[in-house]
Structures are given as C-alpha cells and as structure tokens.
Symmetry: T
Subunit: 71 residues, 12 copies
C-alpha cells in the first residue's frame, strides 16, 4: 500500500431556501451521489437571491476534496 | 425596452443576537424598505461581538445588488 | 487611566457537529475560559469534514480579539 | 478654493450582449445620467451569462469615482 | 421537483488571436460541446503570448458554472 | 427599541498636501457634513500624486461606516 | 487545424513523506495516468501534517492544466 | 547552452481611446521597442478616465515577461 | 550556537487619538513590556472610530515578530 | 469526552541555510519543544536573505495548528 | 503627438526614523533623481524595524509610476 | 552617511529541472551578475511545465530586493 495519497478538489454550489448550513449539506449530499471518498469541504463564497425583500435562496460555493481511488 | 440593465451594489452590515442567517435577513429586510428591485447579496465578512464569554451579536457585511430603475 | 488601549488577536478553530453558529460558539466559550476581556471575533475560514456523504463536523477558523490587561 | 478634494466611489454593474468594452460604456453612460463629475472607473470583475452555448451577456462590475461637489 | 439546485464550476482557458471577447467565446463554445446546462462564467485571469512585438494570443482563464442534471 | 442595527458602508477618497492623517480627516469631515451617525472608517488604499519630485497630494481611499437611522 | 486551443485546469493535492518537490511529482504522476496532454502546474498551497514533532507529510495543492483534445 | 532560463517581469500601463485590447497592444508595442525577447503578459488591472459621461481612455496595467539575454 | 533562528509573530492592535504613527508606537511599546527580542512589525490594517465628525481614534493592526529565545 | 475540539494556530518563521524543506522542519521542531498536540502546518510565505550572490537563508513563515488540551 | 501614453511602474522601499509620511517622501525623492516624469505612487506595504522597544525605522513599499518618454 | 536607505524590488523568474530550491538559486545567481547589493527575495508563485507525465521545469517567480547605491 502506498504511503501517500493524491486528492482532487472540485468546486460546487449548493443552495437552500432555509439556511447556509442546509445549502452546504445539499451540495455535499449531491456530490456524494456521484463521487466516492469525499473527505472535506472548504467554503469559498456565500451569496444568495432576494425575493420580495427576503432571502429567497442561500447559495454557498464550496471546494470539495476526495481521495483518488487507488492512489 | 433596453436589452441590457445596469445594477448598483451597496455595502451594508446586518446584525443579530441569534444567528448568521438572521443577521443576513435583517440586513436584507432593512435594505428593501429603502431600495426597490433588490436582486442578490454577497457575503463579504462575518464577525461579531463577544459578551460574557458568548457571542453577543453576529455581524455580517454584505454587498447587496439592485437594478437601477429604467436602466 | 490611559486614553488608548492595546488589543491582541489570536487565531482559533472551533468545531461542531450541528451548525456553523455552534462551531463559533464552541470556540468563543473555550477561548473565554483562558483569556479575559474577549471583545470580538472575525471569521477567517469555514470548512469541515464529510462522513458518509454528510457534513461530519463544521470547522470555523476565527480571529478572536481581547484587550491586554492594564493597557 | 480648497486645495484638496474629496471623491466618492460607487459600485455598478454594466452589461452588454456585444462586448466587455460596451458593458463598461453602458455602465458609465447610465451612471453619468445621475451623477455629476464622474472622473474614473476601475474594473472589479468580469463575468456573464451563457445562452445556448454562447455568451448571452457580458457583465462588468466597476467602481466609478466622482468628485463630491463643493468639496 | 426540487426547490433547490446544485451547480458545478470548472476552470477552462480559452485563447484567440483576435480579442479577449473572442477568447471567452471560444472557451464557452468548446465547453458547451461537452457539458449541458452551462449557465454563467467568471473571468479569473487575462494574459497572453507575445510574438514579434505584438499580442500573439490572448488567453482568458474562466470559471464556467453549470447545473448538475437532476439536481 | 430594536436589539439590532443595520449599518451602511460608503467608499470615499480624501486628499491632503500635508499628510496621510490629514487626508483621512478631510474625508471624514466632508462625509460627516452629509451623513449622520458616522461611526468608523477602514483604510483601503494609500496613494498620491508626485509634483516636481515630491509628494503633491496624499490620497487615502476609505470605507466609512454609519448606522442607518431608525434601524 | 484550429489556430487556438482550449485548456482545462483541475485542482489536485499531492503528498509525500520526503519533500515538497516529491509531493508535486506524486500529484503530476497520478494525474498523468488519467489525463492526456498535461502541460503545466501552479502551486496553490503548501501545508502538511505533523507527527511526533516532525513533518509527517507535505501536502501540496496544485492546479494542473491540460489541453482539451481536438480543441 | 544552459538547460534553464531566467526571466524578468516589468509592470507597464497601456492606454487607448478605443478599447481594452488596443490598450494592451499599445503597451506591448512600446515595450518591445526597448526590450528584446518579450514573451508573455499578464493583465493586473483594468481602469480608465471618464470624459463627458463616456470612457475617455481605457488604461490596462500589465506585467510583461521577457527572457534575460544569455541566461 | 545554532546557525538558524526561529521567530514567532503575534497580532496586536494599537490605538492613538493623535496619529497612525503614534498608534504603531503604542502597540510596539506595550508589546515590548511583555516580550523580549521584538525585531520587526508589519501593518495589516488601518482603521478607526469617528466621534462628532472627526477621527476619535486611529487603530492599527500589526503583526509583530520576535526571536524565540535559545532558538 | 467531548464530540468536538478547539484548536489554536500560531504563526512562526523557520529558517535554514540548506533548503525550504529544512526551514519548515526547523520551525516544527522548535515549536514542538514548547507546545503539545501540534497537528498541522500551513505555509504562508517563503522568502530569504541573499549573501554574496547566493541564498544565505531560506525563511518560511508558517501557521502551526495544535489542539487545545482538554478541549 | 500621440493620443495615448505608456507608463511604467517600479517598486521601491523608502525608510525613515521619523514617520510613514517621511519614508514615502524619501523614496519619491530618491526615485526622482534617477527617473523623469514620475507621476504617482501607490503604497503596497508598511512595516518597520524595532530597536529597544521602539520603532527604529518605518519602511514603506511603494509602486511608483512614470510616463515613458516619447510614448 | 544617510540614516535611511532606499531599496528597489525587481521581479524575476528562475527555473530548474531539479528542484524549487535550485530554481530560486538560479534566479538569484543570474540577478547578482547584473545588480549589486542584492539583499533579500520573496517567493511570489511556484509553477512549472510538465513533460511526459513528470515535472519538466520548476519555475519560481521571485521579488528580489537590493539597496540603491548611495541612497
């Protein structure tokens, strides 16, 4: 077994009508359906749309890191 | 009707004793009382005051974007 | 009494299984056990670990500012 | 007459279906309808929308500087 | 239907002998051949090669955002 | 009375033939003629013009924060 | 043949118990097993784990650029 | 012949009444009159003057890279 | 004697009613009461409070570097 | 046992006559003599002194993270 | 006469035992002895040495801009 | 003799087939052939070319500082 790993980071944007925390969870959940070995995330930006004077959607831009299989 | 718009961004700071999400909502609500066509926000900074070893206020610095009327 | 103060800022990382807000509070609470006169915090980074396709821990890197005693 | 001036900077977003240069010009033209003494601009960000696999709109975020009257 | 979406951002570099605008369009066109639902781009860097004392190629580094299908 | 406030930040540029400190003061003084409740400033950039091999004007770009009335 | 190319950049993290140079090489080697036409890299961050008061692993975050085939 | 080269980067500002692309070309042309082996440029900032409510000059700040002779 | 040293940097905030220069000096003086071998400082941020339309306090955030004893 | 930890980050500068890797190791070794539970480092800056046309010392500015005991 | 100019920016560091303002002036004066048409400066960094618990020298890193002759 | 000095910083790019450390040394050596009083360097960027799935050249962008003679 190798004594070192290689990881990849991808950038995704999650959204939620409810909270910043849920926007992150939505992104992680979607990402994990397609990618194995997701290990960490880093928030890059937090933003959102306004509808009728209230936050309509929170949008959180994340970098998500996962281990490359067999690396 | 024009096929392009012009937007303006203003920088505001919302605060809340409860959560970061609420500080954002307080800022958007206040802003929407005075400005029409608010369309989006971007979080610039998150900070706060500490009182007796606990978060006293969350303070969130936002850029808020709105469409300039008749542009 | 002096008409000016000197403050120090330290960098800490709080974590929580529940939310970003709680990770900040955990850091502030821990910090206040050891340091007097904690007055403000500034969020530097928000990140976390993923476990089984969900957020395992939110991790928030903060700068915490306190007044240097007798300054 | 004062030997110093004070300026203000506002942040606006111009757009164009044609080019980056035109998006800047659209923003400056709109801005100059409402503000006197506009003197300079600084490009902050360039971005845009995609429609059917082509650039639909260029969007340019600018800081625009103008002299405050009688300053 | 979900009330929230998840987006992915990829980083590409377009080039053109003619102009910055064309370098962006070349990148978007190439990208749209391979990816569905491309919705926006953000310019990260503008640079280029010099040949015989003139701009040989403009190179524009873009982030391109697209909606993850069925998200 | 509300238990939270909303603040706005504007960006201004002060200048002075004498010093950086005076350029800041000139900007704050001008700003306070037009805006109530100015509470803090943040220096963004320091620059200036050169005349005959000497500093002609110091120019200081500031963000100035004030409380929105009745917020 | 086209007179312009389109490139993509991906973000990977290499690690090594030995040195920063080797961590970069490990990442490039792993990446080249999966991607053709890798042409350049840009170091984004250098960090690592500590074990027993010594560097356990160097970790280097890289952007890696490659030409999109047939572009 | 050496198997490695050394390059220098200088910072110049080109301007044009017409477009951003031309401002870059003016800077590269001027630079190439004085320096041999100019190989690449990187845009640092785009800004300009406003005259009568229109862009008077585009100003583009560039880093220009050239190979040091005999290196 | 070792042929290399290890330094530590701490972040402090000095303030003054008079000038930026004095705020720096106040921070250095306070810091030197508690720490030996202070060797350099780096200004991180300059800001301040406004009182009655004038600068009330200048606040300067500094990193201060000192040599770790016996390193 | 708590299900969350709190970490602190300190900023140190290691140096070496030999290499960047050794400057990092010198800093980590010195740091570990004084602090328990050091877990990771992040390189902030790499710089150095020049002596007689050669690198005299490499200097690497690091953030070093450690777990606060009993947190 | 050309309707556009080309400028060059160089980076210099001025120092002073007295004040930040004087460090800037020392740099501008030295620079103007060697370069014609110096027109503006931009402060990049402010730092200094500490001697016996006081500021020994202020050091200010500037970009200085001048018009290239005959451009 | 003056009690203050003026320094200049130039930006150079060194390369090496072997290591990052050697790329820095190559740049410093080349620079010192042409410039007197080189005193320090600051790493700005680390990047490189890939050849056949391996690092072909490390390229390190440096700022190099030297004292202006007779300043």
């Amino acid at each position: 077994m190798s004594d070192h790993h290689v990881y990849k980071k991808v950038e995704i944007v999650g959204s939620s009508r409810v909270s910043i925390d849920e926007a992150i969870n939505n992104a992680i959940a979607e990402c994990s359906k397609r990618i194995k070995n997701v290990e960490w995330f880093e928030v890059q930006e937090t933003r959102g749309h306004v509808e009728n004077g209230k936050v309509g959607h929170y949008q959180v831009v994340l970098k998500v890191g996962f281990r490359i299989e067999n690396s």
